[in-house]
Subunit: 127 residues, 2 copies
Amino acid sequence: MYHVVHTTYMKDEFGDYVRQRREQLRTQDPAFSVRGLAGRIRVEPSYLSKVERGETPPPSEATILRIAREIGEDGDVLLALAGKVSTELQAVIRKRPTLFAELIRELKDQPDHAVLRLVREVRDGEW
Amino acid sequence: MYHVVHTTYMKDEFGDYVRQRREQLRTQDPAFSVRGLAGRIRVEPSYLSKVERGETPPPSEATILRIAREIGEDGDVLLALAGKVSTELQAVIRKRPTLFAELIRELKDQPDHAVLRLVREVRDGEW
DNA sequence: GGTAGTGTGTACGACATGATACACGCCTTG
DNA sequence: CAAGGCGTGTATCATGTCGTACACACTACC
């Protein structure tokens, strides 16, 4: 039976995005070299390089959030690109699983503006 | 520097719950022995035993959902007890990260009835 | 032409995850 | 007393996660 070891990661989105964003920032600020950014997010340059090229899966949540801060991107968005959901949000859901599960499934097929309306409704507190 | 190997898992909720529920069901139906249930959810009896006693961390999502079905518990609830959130729900969130992140954080400190009201609002479609 | 900075290739590592396989000792029942 | 069902202890394993360490080749500068 064939069983490829599959050493190559493949199919990015996260890496592509980070690289593009970093190179863009770099046109304004040479501190956004691979080594520069890697230093500030406290990983090895070769690791960041591999992540950006999708040779390795996206980093841990903590590292992703440090990247987000550094490149000025929303943490939840970057986590999403990495196929993850913030553990903080997960904790909220886990405290009331049925309630949140139902809400989220209900909203799955609702358009953005409908969801946004709910957000505002809660925030502006028309309760 | 001390560095305990930490071979013992510890601190359950999931295991306790499953065991209790299984033993309860067992009073009505002898098919709910460790071996019986293990067979139906397709894991080794010794593994289920260890899980129930919290000697090992909770199983994978797929296995948890099979357990839920078998013992008649809600999947999301059982996943929550295992410290997990359904990948299906996570996928919904990942498609619109900022929108859902905002909503969930907003609802974090809202009482149950407020969240429930939203659920109904969406479902009953007063849109 | 050294030296400083750049991206990347290769090798390896520790630890977590999610289980299997098998044997052992304890009851019960025919 | 053996045969079957029971729960559990011990050993082991494949794969995934999340990186480090170091060397290499290229370019630019003065």
